[in-house]
């Protein structure tokens, strides 16, 4: 049976046009927007073409530029506003969630600061602004302009980010956590991505030609795509008109290679089969595929293989096209933009074409739609594929709106309520700890200057591509999984990181400023996407479940944990490892020391490398394999803005021995706890010896589970709090 998620609003900003209607007209006509880049200096770049958005044409562009918005943020607001306006959705009237996917966030703006710092390393203002465009800035901009959203998630899985935002939002809807979600992705062009894809020799010197036998690579693009999703009951109650239905989806990892797709397409084929089955359909019901279709030799042949495997004989009937020959590859936005396009194809019964496809590659047995769109009258169901670096793949199934069923598509019972925790690990200057040692972290003496040495825990040959953040993550995840005994192949991975690899991006760009784009490092580039460590760890450990990164500043670990628990509860995987990855960052240290007005040596508390991993499993799955659970998730609450409803739903402590485990001694947490039934409970600081880290929230969760397992307490509340947002997680004895 279809998942029953209604698509009631669409919004687009693409290199073809601003707005859904204008983009659609040009898409069907076969127009192409891939041209010489004018946004920045492209001297020395091998390929100088991309699909560029004229941000001056965005509604309200003047205000945005004046107030320092990133282009990524401005495009996101324009597309999300269009989608909400089409759906007639007012976030102040119903509970609306927001999920945003992206890869580079405000990198274009950050590059300008890096260029200034390159010329003048002590430029104070540039340093102060260095962290002002993190990945989460897009969601913050949307919250400010279009909110209040009752919960917000920022995630990254490279080029499937936009599609995964849709999956996460649909999960919230079906779990009844929200009444509607605004979901999508936005990604602006920048020097870093153009230079990096050129270094990988992944760009076609001509506008890209997906599925053509002369294809020589992708063309980059930029843009934003957003959708409004509602449950059928909610859409009916609001009287909104569904455009299409999100009937099914599947996500998973190839665990193959950091940049190349697995040539056999087997993982993608399995995901297509699962997504189609989840929609209650068979390949005979599918009338169109909007392919990932990047135009690289490897992608297009692997994708054709996957379609052949999954669709069988029907692949000889089902037309396939890629929109990337017209708008380019919009990276973190692509999955969302192309889901919007796919919804329009279903709604209008017209196929969009593959531009530039003059000579179809005879090695790819696909039915094409070359050059211009084709009216076919009816498209019952369609697939939209999105594949990311690191092999994080997502398949969506969009159908015509299904006739309303009396009870269908309402809040569904979670497939696997109350996930359990079967392993934890903390890795940093404290050493590599399992559950037993984590229980003692609150009193453990730690030498902050102790070296964190991941290499002795890893196989050097297989780990050679992993950068330091990925190595730290691999060690923690490997240890937690070993303790858990959960089969790695089935596991997913959600890691939170506050700022991603900001130092890596800076050093990559400094090298480009010094030596020119030609000498940019091809091996370093894939390590700069926020989801790169997740990809590396999934490849190193062979994890094939859902995988992406989340970001929420110093609560990125909490966001990853809550997200992983939601994925398990929704049945997206039997086992998902959650965690935090906060490598020591020279840039974060410098910015904070400037912001706090101290010298770097005595500035904000010293930060150290930190990786945390927490294995979450469905209770039934854990029982089936006879696993010993450390703790069970009793409640996992998150909120934005008003914390009243969230705190009202927080359960009471079950015994006098129930305790709070806190990331840090923080007055605002104390004030918040005073307003809850937990005000009388004992409070434990999770790891006072660890110093300051954005990953302490995840440490608190690991310590909480470990303390329950050690019999020190039967129930723990962990609170992560920042102005305007928070998480409350209750763990209990299994």
């Amino acid at each position: 049976m279809s998942a029953g998620v209604r698509v009631t609003g669409l919004g687009l900003v693409t290199p073809l046009a601003v707005g859904v209607e204008a983009t659609w007209t040009r898409l069907v006509r076969g127009d192409r927007a891939i041209r010489p880049v004018t946004l920045f200096d492209v001297a020395g770049q091998r390929v100088k073409l991309a699909g560029q958005v004229d941000c001056a044409r965005l509604p309200g562009a003047g205000v945005e530029v004046a107030t320092g918005w990133s282009r990524t943020g401005a495009m996101a607001v324009a597309a999300a506003r269009e989608a909400m306006s089409m759906a007639g959705l007012d976030a102040s009237r119903v509970r609306v969630g927001l999920v945003v996917g992206g890869t580079t966030g405000g990198m274009f703006e950050t590059e300008q600061l890096l260029a200034r710092l390159h010329a003048e390393p002590e430029a104070r203002q540039a340093l102060v602004e260095m962290l002002s465009h993190p990945l989460t800035a897009t969601a913050d901009r949307l919250q400010e302009q279009l909110g209040p959203f009752s919960r917000v998630r920022t995630l990254a899985s490279a080029c499937s980010s936009g599609a995964n935002a849709i999956v996460v939002g649909a999960g919230w809807l079906l779990a009844g956590e929200v009444d509607a979600v605004v979901v999508g992705g936005s990604d602006g062009l920048c020097r870093l991505t153009l230079t990096g894809f050129n270094a990988l020799a992944a760009l076609d010197p001509e506008p890209c030609r997906p599925f053509d036998r002369r294809r020589r690579g992708a063309s980059l693009g930029e843009g934003a795509g957003f959708l409004v999703l509602e449950r059928a009951d909610g859409a009916r109650a609001r009287g909104s008109q569904p455009v299409a239905e999100l009937a099914g989806w599947a996500l998973g990892s190839e665990a193959h290679h950091i940049t190349n797709p697995a040539p056999d397409g087997a993982v993608v084929a399995a995901l297509i089969a699962r997504a189609v089955a989840r929609a209650g359909l068979t390949p005979a019901d599918i009338d169109y595929v909007n392919a990932h279709g990047t135009g690289t030799l490897l992608n297009d042949s692997a994708e054709a293989a996957a379609l052949g495997l999954a669709l069988g004989n029907e692949a000889r009937r089902i037309p396939v096209s890629s929109s990337k020959g017209q708008i380019g590859h919009t990276l973190g936005a692509a999955g969302a933009i192309e889901a919007v396009i796919t919804a329009l194809v279903v709604a209008r019964g017209t196929l969009v074409p593959t531009a530039g496809l003059d000579e179809p590659d005879p090695a790819l047995p696909l039915v094409h739609v070359p050059h211009v769109g084709r009216e076919v009258g009816r498209v019952r169901a369609a697939l939209s594929n999105a594949f990311g670096f690191g092999g994080m793949d997502t398949v969506l199934v969009l159908t015509e709106p299904q006739p309303s069923r009396e009870r269908g598509a309402a809040v569904s019972r979670p497939a696997s309520p109350l996930p359990v925790i079967t392993g934890v690990s903390v890795f940093g200057c404290c050493g590599l700890l399992g559950a037993e040692e984590c229980a003692e972290l609150p009193t453990r003496k730690i030498a902050l200057d102790a070296l964190t040495e991941p290499d002795s825990h890893l196989d050097p040959a297989r780990a050679r591509r992993l950068d330091r953040p990925a190595r730290l993550g691999a060690v923690a995840v490997q240890r937690a999984l070993a303790e858990s005994g959960a089969p790695a192949a089935g596991a997913g991975l959600v890691l939170g990181s506050a700022f991603g690899n900001v130092d890596g991006s800076a050093s990559f760009m400094h090298r480009v400023f010094d030596k020119g784009p030609r000498l940019a490092s091809p091996a370093e580039f894939p390590n700069l996407v926020p989801s790169s460590p997740v990809g590396h760890v999934s490849i190193y450990l062979g994890l094939r479940g859902p995988a992406f990164a989340t970001a929420d500043f110093d609560q990125s670990g909490e966001s990853a944990f809550v997200q992983a628990a939601q994925l398990v509860a929704a049945g997206e995987g039997d086992c998902v490892v959650a965690g935090a990855l906060e490598p020591k960052s020279g840039i974060v240290e410098r910015v904070l020391s400037v912001l706090f007005g101290h010298g770097a040596s005595q500035g904000a508390a010293a930060r150290t490398d930190l990786a945390v991993a927490i294995v979450l499993e469905g209770a039934a799955a854990a029982r089936r394999r006879g696993a010993r659970a450390l703790a069970r998730v009793g409640q996992a609450i998150e909120w934005r803005g008003d914390d009243g409803p969230a705190l009202a739903s927080l359960r009471k402590p079950r015994s006098p021995g129930s305790e709070l485990v806190l990331a840090r001694a923080d007055d605002s947490v104390r004030v918040l706890v005073e307003r809850t039934p937990w005000r009388e409970q004992a409070r434990v600081a999770c790891a006072p010896g660890l110093g300051e880290s954005d990953g302490l929230g995840a440490v608190a969760i690991a310590v909480a589970a470990a303390r329950i397992d050690a019999g020190l307490t039967g129930e723990v509340l962990v609170v992560g709090l920042a102005p305007g947002r928070g998480y409350a997680i209750v763990l209990e004895a299994p």
Binding site: A199, L200, A201, H257, I258, T259, N260, D455, P460, A461, R464, R465, K515, R518, L519, A520, S521, P522, A523, P526
Partner: protein
Amino acid sequence: MHAAQLRSQVKRLIVAELNLKGRDPETIEDDAPLFGEGLRLDSLDALQLAVAVEEQLGVRLPDGDEARSVFRSVRAIADYVERARRA
């Protein structure tokens, strides 16, 4: 530069750039295949190696089909660098 010295330099560069920790550069044979079998390097390694050769040995390696024969072995890379320097 002596041809053997240049080959040693290419080997050291391979070990350093591709992060083949613990591998003694001198154990890489001059004619051993680098890709597919032998060291089992892949296309991403080839790109990284090309950048390193250009930066450190001052020779721009070819792209595309011609690259395939240059990247065949340490000897093939060193010979190409030698020829390019003489030209």
